[in-house]
């Protein structure tokens, strides 16, 4: 096929173009023609198709995500908000922290190792692009049933991919989630979170300003991998002489990314860039159109200058390629020599591919012929917006009306069996088999990592300032009530920050759902967004950004609605954090918060095949008072340990606490079955020195939080109302699940 230039698009307006194969709807194609006043060239069509894909344009979610702006919290802490590569938050002492979660769900099902690896790589580049040094990663993961054959294919590959890439970048992995549910079989969720730190003055934005400034592409060469990663490319439509079908999953090279990070940080430190953008989804199409839109709009690019791994790539393929480990910078001509020098030091391939112009069009040439001539905003920001139909699905009222009939433990024998069953359940079992494949020590600043409630890293070695991050989702509750489910996940993540004594500061999210074309799924999504926006407003926490992943469904079966909420908190002195467990006998154990009959959506109900009933209603005012209590109590040094209650209830929390340091506990509970198993939100177990009990009582009274003494620490067993479980037996149950399944 001959090169399709702007001139040939004008002279030959009526050829049939493969817009449908590229995922564009007829009206979208018509709109492109209207914008351009002619048919698009094949390169323009490629650009619009990837940039207007669901993944890049948020066309189904935009109308709902608007709420995060409409209900925005007034705060000075937010230095950069939604819309840039990642939000940036002021954490004090002149430091700014950026953090974001992204999904890499579909690629990770097709090719688990590379899918997960490049998911980590992509989010790390987003953080780097803000001018920050990446300092830690986390990875909330969800899989089909633990014993399903396909989970054995997918899980080890994904874990190895997350580890293989992150370990090689020198980023400590400080936490995440591993959750199993039938609905994720065929739709595993790989969400990756990265945290970065910089000084306020070092924040970088994606903008191409200043006519005459150079457009510089650096990092890996461009290859055929990842074409169609965000859109569908029928390769026979384009260059018929080129290599046939290429893998749609990108292939990562973490060593190149590591070098790219160090090289970029050195470039940033010398203030050599005006604007910067990483190449992720939609590759060069995205980077050039977003950079141009961020400035005055004018940019010229000579596409034939892009260094290639595969010389047979067509211009369309180069524009769509999602080859990893590439960055695009805008550099003033006076600084280009130093920029090139630093790239040379790190052996990074670097090429000037164009320049910023004073016009308002993005013009791309191929060996001198004009093949793209578009207003860049129409590509990057003015894609289609859909107000998709939504309808409350029939299942909601039906399952909400179900009465949970599962038997709760009463006798000593039943209590022991229940504690052991929960300790060994795949969703609650020890995750060391997973986390031992991740480097948690590198960079030397890790204060907390899995199995702590949150990950915590020190960001200043002298002042001991640190940040904590937790991610949570409770898809069982979101299934029963997506509005409350999102709020409850937010509350849980914030609580997980506060148990250590850190103050919650900002929120990010990764919203994983089924098909937006299903009105029921769209309703789940809309309700989740509404819940999260309302919740953030009520808790005074700004949303700094996020990611939406739709189409996580196989046939008509969608995943459970899974809004993963990440909360970032700050702690003034990491040395004073409250640990999750106690290391000595003779302490008093208190349960903070009230236990209700919240068996619906619990792990216990799930283990007994029941997933109906009503989700709890979030009481965020009470959650905020509990957070205040935890942060104040930490400052006043009241706690020896504090640990959140969530999935698995008090049983899981006590199991994790006694096993951490091998110090047992004896507790006596009223209404033991419910108290042990219920998953009522807003609860924490604290261990205190008996001398501090009055101070704790006063604080709890002040914050109006119900407090119940449940027992004492010590011994080599966990004893619940007389049911004695030796720590060795409990440890065996808790730790052997994963090695048995995946060892």
């Amino acid at each position: 096929m001959a090169l399709d230039t702007v001139a040939s698009a004008k002279s030959n307006p009526d050829i049939s173009q493969p817009f449908a194969e590229l995922g564009l709807k007829p009206d979208e194609y018509a709109r492109i023609k209207e914008i351009l006043g002619r048919r698009p060239t094949s390169s323009e069509l490629a650009m619009y198709s990837v940039m207007w894909s669901e993944h890049c344009s948020y066309k189904s979610s935009k109308v709902h995500l608007k709420q995060f702006g409409d209900k925005a919290v007034k705060t000075d802490a937010l230095l950069v908000g939604i819309g840039e590569n990642a939000g940036v938050v002021d954490v004090g002492q002149g430091y700014a922290v950026t953090f974001k979660i992204e999904s890499h769900n579909h690629p990770s099902f097709v090719e688990p190792y590379q899918g997960a690896a490049t998911g980590v790589g992509g989010i790390v580049r987003d953080i780097l692009t803000m001018g920050a040094r990446p300092i830690a990663v986390m990875d909330p993961l969800r899989f089909g049933p633990a014993d399903a054959p396909d989970t054995r294919r997918v899980l080890p590959g994904i874990i190895a991919g997350v580890g293989g890439y992150g370990n090689c970048l020198g980023l400590p992995n400080i936490g995440g989630e591993v959750v199993f549910d039938e609905t994720y079989l065929g739709n595993p969720l790989v969400n990756a979170l990265c945290i970065g730190v910089m000084k306020h003055s070092d924040i970088k934005l994606a903008k191409a300003a200043g006519a005459g400034n150079l457009v510089v592409l650096y990092g890996a060469k461009t290859g055929g991998d990842g074409i169609g990663g965000v859109s569908v490319l029928a390769s026979e439509t384009f260059e018929s002489t080129g290599p046939a079908k290429r893998p749609a999953v990108q292939v990562g090279d973490p060593f190149v990314e590591k070098v790219l990070i160090e090289c970029s940080l050195e470039i940033f430190a010398e203030d050599l860039v005006v604007g910067i953008q990483d190449l992720g989804g939609a590759g060069l199409s995205c980077a050039t159109s977003e950079l141009a839109s961020g400035g005055s709009g004018g940019m010229k690019v000579e596409l034939d200058r892009v260094p290639l791994r595969d010389a047979t790539l067509s211009p369309e393929e180069i524009l769509m390629s999602e080859s990893q480990e590439r960055m695009c910078a805008i550099v003033e001509p006076s600084k280009i020599n130093r920029f090139l020098e630093i790239c040379k030091k790190w052996d990074v391939t670097v090429t000037v591919i164009g320049e910023v112009t004073d016009g308002d069009r993005l013009e791309i040439t191929w060996h001198g012929d004009l093949i793209v001539d578009v207003p860049p905003r129409t590509v990057a920001h003015e894609g289609p917006v859909y107000n998709r139909p939504l309808a409350k699905p029939d299942y909601v009222d039906r399952v909400n009306a179900e009465v949970i009939t599962v038997k709760l433990p009463e006798s000593a024998e039943e209590i022991k069996a229940a504690v052991l069953k929960l300790a060994a359940a795949p969703n609650l079992a020890d995750k060391s088999w997973v986390t031992d494949q991740y480097d948690r020590y590198v960079q030397g600043n890790t204060i907390q990592s899995q199995p702590d409630d949150s990950g915590m890293v020190r960001i200043d070695e002298k002042t001991h300032l640190g940040v904590a991050v937790a991610t949570d989702a409770n898809a069982n509750w979101s299934y029963l009530n997506p509005y409350e489910g999102a709020k409850l996940a937010l509350a849980e993540a914030a609580r997980n920050i506060a148990t250590a004594g850190a103050k919650p500061l900002a929120v990010t999210n990764c919203l994983n759902f089924g098909s937006p074309e299903d009105p029921g799924v769209m309703w789940q999504f809309a309700e989740s967004v509404r819940g999260l926006a309302d919740g953030c407003l009520e808790m005074g926490l700004p949303v700094t950004g996020g990611n939406v992943s739709f189409y996580n469904q196989t046939g008509s079966v969608a995943i459970l609605p899974t809004p993963v909420i990440g909360v970032l908190g700050v702690i003034d002195d990491v040395r004073t954090r409250t640990p999750m467990s106690f290391d000595r006998a003779g302490l008093e154990l208190y349960l903070l918060g009230e236990t209700q009959n919240d068996i619906a959506g619990s792990e216990w109900a799930y283990l007994h095949g029941q997933r109906g009933g009503k989700a709890p209603i979030a009481d965020l005012k009470r959650e905020m008072r509990l957070i205040d209590l935890l942060v104040t109590g930490n400052k006043e040094k009241l706690f020896v340990a504090a640990h959140d209650l969530s999935q698995g209830g008090l049983s899981a929390t006590l199991t994790e606490m006694v096993l951490r340091h091998g110090i047992g506990a004896e507790v006596t509970l009223e209404n033991v079955g419910q108290t042990l198993i219920s998953e009522s939100p807003g609860r924490v177990v604290v261990a205190i020195d008996p001398a501090k009990s009055n101070a704790l009582k006063d604080l709890a009274a002040k914050e109006n939080i119900v407090m119940t003494k449940i027992g004492n620490t010590g011994g080599d067993s966990l004893i619940v109302n007389g049911a004695k479980i030796a720590l060795s037996e409990l440890r065996k149950a808790h730790t052997e699940t994963f090695p048995k399944l995946f060892g």
């Binding site: 190895a160 020198g170 590591k258 052996d347 204060i447 020190r458 990491v574």
Partner: protein
């Protein structure tokens, strides 16, 4: 006292090694892989990481780096050199130490707090420990299984050149549970676990790792 810390493009634990050197009371000097210059240092640490990506055998390319030529000469002249993890792999590839590190027997990366016994306290890097002392420092690698032929193994054993051995469950299938070895002279030590990540209990499992860095200070004062 100046201790050089080498940075290859894919080195990851260089800042941690420099921090440990500082905590022990010496000053850390950054050495760049492409410069054949030791900048007058008294000892060298080769930290962990993935040197040049290690897509070939770990450390196979690094041994040819300009800085390594100088380090090989200096080591042969008696300068204390500690290779940690990837650094150990580089020292083996450079033939400053015998044997090789291969993939862990479980075939995946393993990060855990590892118990070791110190078996030789006469090297430049272990004199702060007592014979048989048990310590806990992080182990984190994918290719940490120490292998060598029988003859080398019996020489290492009979000459007391096993510096540290894993205690408890075998983490990676190393011969005779070897975690670290030294050369005949005792100035070059290779260690698979990471002492630089155990210099205080805030960020590490213990402060046991500091002993390696205080040891070399004593060796240099001598």
């Amino acid at each position: 006292m100046k201790v050089g810390v080498v940075t290859f493009p894919g080195t990851l634990d260089d800042r941690d090694a420099a921090r440990a050197v500082g905590a022990a009371g010496a000053s850390a000097i950054s050495l760049w892989h492409g410069d054949a210059d030791l900048k007058g240092v008294d000892a060298v640490v080769l930290p962990g990481g993935f040197s040049y990506g290690d897509y070939l055998r770990c450390g196979a390319i690094s041994r040819f780096a300009p800085v390594m030529e100088k380090i090989i000469d200096a080591a042969n002249g008696g300068m204390p050199v500690l290779g940690i993890c990837n650094g150990f792999q580089v020292l083996c590839e450079a033939h400053l130490l015998p044997g090789a590190l291969t993939r862990n027997h479980a075939l995946h990366f393993l990060c855990r707090d590892q118990k070791l016994t110190i078996e030789n306290t006469s090297t430049a890097w272990t004199s702060s420990f007592s014979q048989g002392q048990e310590i806990v420092i992080p182990l984190k690698n994918g290719e940490g299984s120490f292998q060598c032929d029988d003859q080398t193994l019996s020489a290492l054993e009979s000459e007391g050149r096993i510096v540290a051995r894993y205690l408890g469950e075998d983490p990676n299938g190393s011969r005779n549970l070897i975690a670290g070895i030294t050369n005949e002279r005792g100035n070059v030590v290779g260690l698979m676990p990471h002492p630089e990540h155990a210099i205080n209990v805030l960020t590490g499992p213990s402060a046991d790792g500091l002993g390696f860095f205080t040891s070399v200070l004593k060796a240099m004062v001598k």
